[in-house]
Amino acid sequence: MSVLKKITPILTLLIILWLWEVAVHFFKIPVLVLPAPSDIYRSLEQKQELYFSFSLPTLLEIFAGFFLAAISGIFLGILVSFSALAKSSIYPILISSQMVPKVAIAPVLTIWFGSGLMAKMFIAFLIAFFPITISTMVGLDAMDPEMVKMFRAMGAGRYKTFIKLRLPAALPNIFAGLKIGMSLAVVGAVVAEFVAADKGLGYYLLYANGQLDSPGVFASLFLLTVIGVTLYYFVELAEYYLVPGVLHKEGNLNNFSM
């Protein structure tokens, strides 16, 4: 039963791919409109080296942007949750800054940081860090006041209460934020490459689109998905080792979107 459960998603995917392949041939859909999985595979195989060398910069942008977002998001979340001053000064700016469409300021950032790694990393960071900050803050604030009272009665100071109570209790929320941030970092990096780039999967996707190379577009999409899913599972792996089993919670991707 558990084996069946594990292979179910793979099996489902294979069935969908097969139906896709069959449908494209049966309805004689032009490659330009919808390439069959076999066309996409051929494209991946023929331009192996190109895809590989274009995957690396994108991977790096996503990872660096996410890493920066994780560090600063958790730090800001802790700061805002702990200091009333930070809450009244930084928090409103934080909220309103999120109302600025980040995709729209990508060109500006390109002017500031050039078309290299820096700009793309920064855009990925900007999109990813907000949910991480918010969920860290929510996790830390959602503390039962009686628990805090008990720690006070036990003579624990703020630091001790943070380490022994607040942080472990907030970990599931923090990781939920990290998972959402991870998937948003992919969006950020691709958008940044759309605006200005000479390499990367987002750049190639746009280029292939211009060349009417639909299999290339889909191959890029496929690789972006693989990168996103892989990084997402790395976050989940970290959660598995860092968050005590009884606290595991599913990150809800539906709560956040661009």
Binding site: D144, E146, M147, K149, M150, F151, R152, A153, M154, G155, A156, K160, T161, K164, L165, P168, A169, P244, V246, L247
Partner: protein, 277 residues
Amino acid sequence: MNNLVADKNGNFFSKAKNLVELDKVGKIFPARRKGTDDVVALRETTQSIRRGEIVTIVGPSGCGKTTLLSLMAGLEKPSSGKVSINGLEVSGPYTNSGIVFQKDLLLSWRNVMDNVLIQAEARSLPPESYRHRAQDLLDLVGLNGFENFYPHELSGGMRQRVSICRALLHDPELVLMDEPFAALDAITRDQLAVDFDKFVQAGDRTVIFITHNMEEAVFLGDRVMVMTPRPGQIAEVIDIDLPRPRTLSLKDSSEFTKYTSKVRSLFMEHGVLKDHL
């Protein structure tokens, strides 16, 4: 000051008969919104708690029981008067106490043993050197073999037993209990009440136990403080002259019911309870 003696750690403490002294202690909460009056949670109260006795405080919700307990634990500051423990005025959280709340407040990510040891960790005491004592306490409350269980795997009664062990780990001289059995079913509550003497080592430890259950107050207490609301005050203190350890059959005895009806009649006198005839 002549009744101060030094303990083995060189800390001075009082050997006076009274452990806790309330000297005209009152608590007023400022009005929450315009047009309403300040709330007198506790009218100025002068009482003392003797060393080694079990005092139960009984009253309806909103009578200031929990406020009184928070004042004694140093978790809240009195608006007037002062609380002293061992002859010293309480000005911050009084940490030589163990507190048991109505909610067990166990940490869901720690197993039973580690939940008890949090008491040592919070006090920056080496948890390893308390492991033995924690085990003894868990054995005492009948949780031998459950050390590695997580809170969600235990029943409500077992969880509250763990929280009692946590409160006792550092062998505090004063134990404060805020309706610890109120969330449990009546049968579990009876069992914990019978085991209570054994758990807290009645006679050696000073316990202040808050409840809204009149039977429970009489059953557990050496003295019962009856509290009435608006404003919160101690209406009367009743000495309970019943043998310890208390047994369940005691509840059927005429002496026991004499005490419970005394408490009930006090509540009726103060209009907390009314018959509609």
